[in-house]
């Protein structure tokens, strides 16, 4: 708790800077309107006017919060104007892809640890594969998947899976190799085979590494789902793009905050799961 005060004050400074920024960036429009109407505006009027524009260059924090609130509670959550609906669309794609990516990552890591040929041949390409900006080819993937007749959620899930699988592979390879020679030798004196060694030693030892990777992976999966939605009908990404087309800055910022909240909640949920699991396994530190 000793970091509460510093964090609160840093956040307060950020919000203050934000208000200052919105006054600075929005005031030219106010002056412009006043000049066109042939009026003089006083400074207090400008301050007020910069806080309540319909399409501000930089919406003030309270406008974003109002946009967020309206988006969540303003209509039924099944409505296409509801942020909850769009968040759900994004979340379903994220989770779908995250689960696929995690399972694939674990399988690949098991193969890499047990097979030297796989270790030598797959690992460099797994690293190289991350150099392909998959996010950048999301639109192409969408067109191709569309022509194959796939659901929109599958497209998103592929991108999410691709982004979340890499951290899992790296973490799990490290984790499965984390038992030291002494422990491996002990299992050998028990005459344990590769299978038993895996289930009794390697897999439990890898759990802390797995959770660390999952936290990175789920944040990446969310980014993947959002970018995958850029040319789809619904989802946070679709809100971002339509907001950018129509100059609805408040809508963009509200969608952005929704995404940020989702990311925070997802990472925190995995952190919770990590805490519970490690405590049950007697590995909590």
């Amino acid at each position: 708790m000793k970091s509460a005060l510093p964090v609160v004050s840093v956040v307060a400074v950020i919000i203050a800077l934000w208000y200052a920024g919105s006054v600075w960036l929005n005031s030219p429009w106010v002056y412009d309107q006043a000049a066109r109407a042939g009026q003089q505006v006083s400074l207090p009027d400008v301050l007020v006017a910069t806080m309540q524009q319909d399409r501000p260059v930089l919406p003030a924090p309270h406008q974003v919060i109002k946009g967020l609130y309206d988006g969540i509670t303003g209509q039924a959550i099944t409505s296409k104007r509801s942020l909850v609906y769009h968040a759900w669309v994004t979340l379903s794609g994220t989770m779908f892809g995250f689960v696929i990516g995690t399972l694939m990552g674990i399988a690949l890591a098991v193969g890499i640890v047990h097979n030297k040929a796989m270790d030598l041949s797959v690992m460099p390409w797994a690293i190289a594969s991350q150099m392909i900006p998959i996010i950048a080819i999301a639109p192409m993937l969408a067109v191709v998947m569309n022509s194959l007749g796939a659901q929109p959620i599958v497209t998103k899930a592929i991108i999410s899976a691709y982004l979340s699988f890499f951290p899992v592979v790296v973490g799990m390879v490290k984790g499965l190799r984390s038992p030291d020679q002494m422990q491996l030798d002990l299992l050998r004196t028990y005459n344990a085979g590769q299978g038993t060694t895996f289930w009794a030693l390697r897999l439990p030892a890898s759990v802390p590494y797995l959770f660390t990777s999952l936290k990175v992976g789920i944040a990446a999966a969310l980014v993947g789902a959002i970018v995958g939605e850029l040319n789809q009908a619904a989802g946070i990404g679709a809100r971002l793009l339509s907001g950018s087309y129509y100059g609805q800055t408040v809508q963009i910022w509200a969608a952005l905050f929704m995404a940020a909240t989702m990311a925070a909640v997802l990472v925190m949920a995995i952190g919770r799961l990590e805490g519970v699991t490690l405590r049950r396994m007697g590995m909590a530190r």
Partner: protein, 279 residues
């Protein structure tokens, strides 16, 4: 059909060869040959399956068609590369990483600021920052400045968090030694703590290197001049020019790998003393 049989035979042959090579490993040549063989196999399987199953080129073009397109449109690809990578990604990378390191050094003396900024920085680093791309395009216009701005925000927090962690990495014993030498704050920063922070800083720089190109390309989806890799991908989708898209992807992958490799090379040169670099 004959293509599919060929693919199967080729795949099995390279698999057996790779397994043999891996068992006899130890040489540097083997360490290079095995992944290379795997990569060639992937390309051959791709080509063979596309030809064997007669996959439409608007779904997946064979690598040979991509290579032909690549060779035929070099000037255009170069123009896109300069616009997106050199102007957008690289400018943003240098500004963002530089600002992050300077900020970390600036807040180094204040424990209060560190306690406050680090949780916020960690939080922001996990956010989907590409989402600010439409805002930046609105603020800075369609040209490369808005792309650079997105990249600045994307790379800032990973580098900041790593640099702050790195500045705390020198051991108490080493700092005490500097104190017995009557070293000033500045001297111990420049001579001890910044060098000790380098492995951490480069860790952040390497993460940022992969983020920079992605940020620049995605920002182009929200508006760009009529060149750039993101623009090219979006424009070619409209006319189903998948071979051009794959050629652009190849450029992106090559540029990204080369950039990452360059940063890793500089890291090896700067942190030659670190245990992870000595083998």
């Amino acid at each position: 059909m004959s293509w599919l049989v060929f693919v199967l035979v080729f795949w099995l042959a390279t698999w057996v060869l790779n397994a043999r090579l891996a068992l006899a490993s130890g040489h540097r040549a083997v360490r290079l040959a095995v992944p290379l063989l795997f990569g060639i196999t992937l390309l051959v399987v791709w080509e063979g399956v596309v030809r064997g199953l007669a996959v439409s080129p608007i779904i997946l073009p064979p690598p040979s068609a991509v290579a032909v397109k690549f060779a035929a449109s070099l000037p255009q690809l170069w123009g896109d590369f300069v616009q997106t990578f050199v102007r957008g990604a690289l400018a943003g990378y240098v500004i963002g990483c530089g600002a992050a390191v300077l900020t970390a050094v600036a807040i180094d003396r204040s424990v209060f600021l560190q306690r406050g900024l680090l949780p916020v920085g960690n939080f922001v680093a996990a956010l989907p920052i590409v989402g600010i791309a439409p805002i930046m395009v609105m603020w800075f216009g369609f040209d490369w400045q808005s792309k650079a701005a997105v990249v600045v925000v994307m790379v800032f927090f990973p580098v900041l968090v790593n640099t702050v962690a790195g500045l705390a990495a020198s051991e108490a014993m080493q700092r005490d030694l500097m104190a017995t030498y009557a070293a000033s704050y500045r001297q111990s920063l420049v001579k001890l703590r910044l060098p000790a922070a380098m492995p951490f800083i480069f860790n952040g720089l390497k993460i940022a290197a992969t983020l920079a190109l992605i940020g620049a390309i995605v920002a182009e989806f929200f508006g760009s001049p009529t060149r750039g890799m993101g623009f090219r991908i979006n424009a070619e989708i409209g006319q189903l020019g998948l071979d051009m898209i794959w050629a652009t992807i190849a450029v992106a992958a090559l540029a990204g790998s080369a950039f990452y490799g360059l940063v890793a090379l500089i890291e090896r040169w700067v942190t030659f003393w670190h245990p992870s670099q000595r083998n």
